[in-house]
């Protein structure tokens, strides 16, 4: 599942950020992954993954405007940067090339 440059969680987080568009922040990313994969990831895992990927240049962040329901604190909104898109494409291509020719097995595993 994972390429050397991108872990599985990093892939999930990048895909969630892509899906959410302009509204991607730690809370919405976690909810998106939870809804789509039924995986209950810890909040800490999302924060450190986003932080790490920003350091690697895969995502960019900017502070949104503060709101009253957040106690006057701003959201950190994320978008996928070009290196992030490249890394994601490379990781998904690797997965796809490993899946090629395994149609029969994958059909069997889905029935299970």
């Amino acid at each position: 599942m994972a390429s050397p440059g991108l872990g599985e969680l990093e892939q999930l987080v990048l895909l969630a950020v892509l899906r959410l568009g302009n509204g991607a922040y730690a809370v919405s990313v976690r909810e998106e992954i939870q809804q789509r994969t039924s995986r209950d990831l810890s909040r800490g895992a999302i924060y450190v993954t986003l932080d790490r990927m920003e350091r690697k240049g895969y995502v960019r962040s900017q502070l949104g405007s503060p709101s009253a329901e957040r106690g006057g604190k701003a959201k950190r909104l994320f978008t996928v940067a070009a290196p992030g898109m490249l890394a994601l494409r490379s990781a998904l291509d690797s997965t796809q090339s490993m899946l090629d020719g395994l149609g029969e097995h994958m059909a069997w595993s889905r029935q299970q």
Partner: protein, 191 residues
């Protein structure tokens, strides 16, 4: 009661990376808005602690960062051990020809545990060996050094020296950040 939890969140916030504190707290407030007031502060404190712990564990994810942290801890412990030993040897040698000046120098060096603690603390805080994104690991090294110094010198002397390790690291850390800010080198703020 709520005030205690609010105060606790502030304390826990101190171990979060400084640039994330407001964002994390805002996110937790947003997520907990449906919770009853009595439970809310406790929930925020618990979640903030889990997130802070995750940031601390993250320091050891990368093998290269891990290696550098271990080297720093090794150097600090080496300094804490070697300075008192070297001082003791020097004192024994100096006893043979004690002069007034030498006596004064020796008096200063009567507390090698403090001297070594200050040296180790300054090194931990100042040494650019550890990458800025794992700066928080310096405080893990401080904890190791404090335990080591108590083990080496006992509760009283060790306790005093442990305080000096902490204070010297704080000074060194501030000095390093001041220099880095002047040079514009600081990529990630200290936690």
């Amino acid at each position: 009661m709520n005030d205690i939890w609010t105060w606790l969140v502030r304390v826990i916030g101190g171990v979060l990376p400084a640039h994330e504190y407001d964002v994390v707290l805002g996110d937790l407030r947003e997520e907990s808005r449906m919770l009853p007031l009595g439970v809310r502060s406790r929930w925020i404190a618990r979640e903030a602690l889990c997130i802070a712990l995750r940031y601390h564990v993250e320091c050891y994810r990368d093998a290269d960062d891990r290696r550098r942290i271990v080297i720093l801890a090794g150097l600090a412990c080496g300094l804490l051990w070697s300075v008192p030993v070297a001082t003791h040897q020097a004192m024994v040698a100096a006893d043979a020809f004690v002069s007034t000046t030498m006596h004064a120098v020796m008096t200063i060096w009567q507390a090698p545990h403090v001297t070594s603690a200050i040296a180790a603390g300054l090194m931990i805080g100042r040494m650019p060996l550890v990458a800025s994104h794992v700066d928080v690991s310096r405080w893990h090294v401080v904890a190791v050094a404090m335990v080591a110094v108590v083990a080496l010198h006992g509760w009283v002397n060790g306790g005093i020296a442990a305080g000096f390790v902490w204070a010297a690291t704080w000074l060194g850390d501030h000095g390093r950040h001041a220099v880095a800010s002047e040079n514009g080198d600081l990529t990630a703020p200290s936690s």
